[in-house]
Symmetry: C2
Subunit: 538 residues, 2 copies
């Protein structure tokens, strides 16, 4: 039996486009002699379709497309992820797999386990399935599962029951349709989970994941086939579209998955995150405010990798507080990347604003207000370039800054996409060093100098924040490990510092509320992944 795995980059809501690509792959499969063609979870609608599911006209489109696809399945079986609608007590949708064969739907499978944590809101839309996952094709017993359905592992399970646990008969094959987004630690876990299942059920698994980014969510692909001993026999690419026809019974051949370092994984994910944000919105060009610091340097580098050097404009926006090395380092970076840059002073704007406000501010001292006026003058100029020439402004805030609110709302927090806001400052240095392994692309001085916002004379980040290794240690404990203040302090940090940092994180929820979508690389990203009260006392 030949099975074709199709790992595609679907567009959310684009039923027409997605279905025509599905049909193309089905016909390709026919020519290749495949008996089954497998697509990823909710491939027809794109994942996640969110509140589009509330639109009856959207469901009608999906149903119509399924009918068209069905007509293409003469002599072949296609397994497609799509929403299934039925009026009933309980929610009226299932996250479903349609098994189409010889122009008929021979099986509807409904996903049992609906992830409703982190970025996932599936219980918002779907009723949990509870029917048998098995269908028979050409005498083979095949169990279908959808993504989370295979993830109910460990001692403190998230769900009370799971579809594969309900199976008593022998099965020949497990198929899993996934839309399993990237996070830097998800990669090994996924293989472990698949391994546990194939061994427990003594059956191989065909695992088909989607690739591509939909705003915050980055899907890394990595579809694979694993034999019943837990050996990977076939694998598809990471971070790009791929498909493969696999012959069953599987030949013995344990393919090893290279151990890609975390820095590289995040690097690759961010590039696809930028690329798809632009591609899917129909934009080509990015503009970035280049300060001379590591954040904007890395965004420029990543944007050049994602969009091409000619499609990225770096803008240096010096003020009287900008150091000479900031300008020089920025220029050096652009020359290394062979990408255009421009210098626009914010002095005139800053002077005009402060002069306008002087009758009201009178002799009040220079404070954070004037710092913010500089950052906002930069935002204003960058957005004007964006408007005039059709660039998307990329935001350069990193996760450490976003956490403690070290950034100006409507200033350096402007931008259509927050490229780095799920990457801690210390991680960013690691990625920069990794990028520089062969050649010095990111000028060394940008990596080694003390971070500064350069919004007042001789300012350093360390004037108001602890050193980044301490800051990031505390932030990681608080945000990723959900530790309390005392627990963090007990791990070797100064109690008062921990209290201060945690307060800063909580107090700055209002800034993050208005932040651009954050490319998610962790499981506690700002935005839809980590949902904290905006108004409260905690």
């Amino acid at each position: 039996m030949k099975i074709k795995l199709c790992q595609l980059n679907f567009i959310v809501g684009d039923i027409e486009g997605n279905s025509s690509r599905i049909i193309h792959k089905i016909n390709e499969g026919k020519k290749e002699g495949a008996e089954i063609v497998v697509f990823s979870e909710l491939s027809l609608s794109g994942y996640p379709p969110k509140d589009l599911l509330k639109y009856p006209s959207f469901i009608d489109k999906c149903t119509h497309a399924i009918e068209l696809i069905k007509q293409e399945t003469e002599g072949i079986c296609a397994i497609i992820g799509a929403p299934y609608y039925i009026v009933q007590d309980g929610k009226n949708y299932y996250n479903s797999a349609y098994v189409l064969h010889n122009k008929k739907c021979i099986k509807h499978y409904y996903k049992w386990l609906l992830p409703t944590y982190d970025v996932f809101d599936e219980a918002r839309y779907f009723e949990a399935g509870e029917t048998n996952p098995i269908f028979t094709l050409n005498g083979k017993q095949i169990a279908i599962t959808i993504c989370e359905d295979i993830w109910n592992e460990g001692v403190d399970k998230l769900y009370k029951q799971a579809p594969l646990d309900s199976i008593e008969a022998d099965i020949d094959l497990i198929i899993n349709l996934s839309a399993s987004p990237f996070s830097y630690s998800h990669y090994e876990k996924r293989i472990e989970v698949i391994k546990a299942k194939v061994i427990r059920h003594n059956a191989p698994m065909v695992y088909v994941n989607q690739i591509g980014a939909n705003a915050e969510l980055i899907f890394d692909g990595g579809s694979l086939v694993m034999n019943s001993k837990g050996e990977i026999t076939n694998k598809l690419a990471y971070f790009k579209e791929d498909s493969q026809v696999v012959d069953f019974p599987l030949k013995k051949s344990n393919i090893s998955i290279p151990n890609i370092p975390k820095t590289q994984r995040i690097h690759d994910a961010l590039i696809i995150g930028i690329r798809d944000y632009f591609n899917k919105l129909g934009f080509k060009k990015a503009v970035i405010g280049l300060s001379g610091g590591i954040d904007s340097a890395m965004v420029t580098y990543l944007a050049v990798k994602a969009l091409g050097a000619e499609n990225v404009l770096s803008v240096l926006l010096p003020s009287k507080f900008s150091s000479e090395h900031s300008v020089n380092d920025s220029i050096q970076l652009c020359e290394n990347l062979n990408t255009p840059y421009q210098t626009i002073s914010i002095e005139q704007t800053y002077e005009a604003v402060t002069k306008t406000l002087s009758p009201i501010f009178k002799n009040l001292p220079f404070d954070v207000t004037e710092e913010n006026i500089q950052a906002r003058s930069r935002g204003l100029i960058l957005m004007a370039l964006s408007n005039k020439f059709g660039y998307i402004l990329l935001n350069t805030t990193n996760k450490s800054e976003a956490a403690v609110g070290y950034g100006t709302l409507y200033g350096d927090m402007c931008g259509g996409l927050a490229v780095l806001a799920d990457v801690y400052k210390t991680e960013l240095y690691e990625i920069a060093n990794w990028v520089n392994t062969k050649n010095e692309i990111i000028p060394k001085n940008i990596i080694t100098k003390a971070p500064s916002a350069e919004l007042r004379p001789d300012q350093k980040d360390s004037d108001s924040l602890p050193d980044y290794d301490i800051l990031d240690g505390i932030l990681y404990s608080y945000i990723e490990e959900t530790m309390g203040v005392e627990e963090i302090a007990n791990n070797g940090y100064d109690l008062q510092t921990v209290e201060r940092i945690v307060k800063m994180v909580n107090r700055n929820e209002y800034k993050r509320f208005q932040m651009a979508p954050v490319l998610r690389v962790s499981t506690n990203a700002f935005g839809f992944s980590r949902r904290m009260p905006l108004v409260g006392k905690y």
Copy 2:
């Protein structure tokens, strides 16, 4: 039997404050001879606690507080909403009611129906309960339910089972602990739902809702007691804290609930929304950019009602495109409200920005870029005032504008709270006219003149948008009624206009993504209530 209903304004996360207020009310109840004191849903943690529930230290605080409250229940029964933690297969939390009596917990009830739609994410945190809702006190059979538990009505029910449906024995009383947020249509529905339950189970209901606003969510209170015939015998206030001791068996007295018009309901809700946003964040003063249009006029009026005239600063920010009447109308409004105002020209800032950009923009024509520069210059100046003097800037975007993206990101979309972004322009006129019923508070000219952004000579909203009654009709069909393009056109709108407006709504998701929290008065508010894909093709 005397039962005390406690309708309080709890603060999310403030376990110490919330529990001390609960204890205060228990002791008050003892003096009043109450046998039971009832609080609202998740009263201890505040509603919604969101991802605070992921913090073990937060749960420890809740557990500790319950122990302290328990010690206060000698001779009295207190029913308190709080999260319950237990390690198990399935999620480890229940949305629970603790029944405390004589220093013991005599019953844990777990909410069965977990709303996971609109702004609600309860399935993200809680496992659905499925145990018996009944406990016995002094020989009475009392069924506890939590909010949504009583809402499974109609022909196409949202849930497969509900706790009261599981009851076969006679019951003497139903108690419902709610955190049921305001929407302009929720008010009658709530009474209908309660009525259906008391009649079906032939038992009276004690319904305790919370009041106060937590960021977007506004809780309107309106707690009540209904007898088994469906007559309201006791009612608590709307939009303020209240408590009442009610004697059972109930005396016959059908209290009528006044039919408050929709305009007034929204008006009252917005005022409490503003007030609690400031109170709970520890701020007192608001700043508003006053344009001469209806939106900023209404925000100024509402802010004055919420915070006091002396705590609101209106700033007129004219440009060369501002009309004289805009300035005069704005001044008239401030004089009517007796609230301070200031005039700050944006001309210097606008000139500086355009001069700075002229070598790059060269002879390119005036377009939306220059319009946005004006709006962003205003945002920059208003935020400088906010920073220097500790004002919160209030955003004035209405729902019609937010829908079609008729506003400048980082310009007039600045602000800590979007007061009107769930109120359509046509609704806003209705509210303004209602406000003016007795005296002309909102200058008539502001209501009658043609809306204009005044960002280019003789600009009118109607240059690029259909008239607001048509626009709002289309938007209401698309957003509130989730109709498709063809269905809307079939209802009497021009197809091309509908297509264009729907495209504008979809295309401007990116602006709304970065918008301030929106005071929610409908069931399809922008923000957490309506979650559409940011990147997609639809």
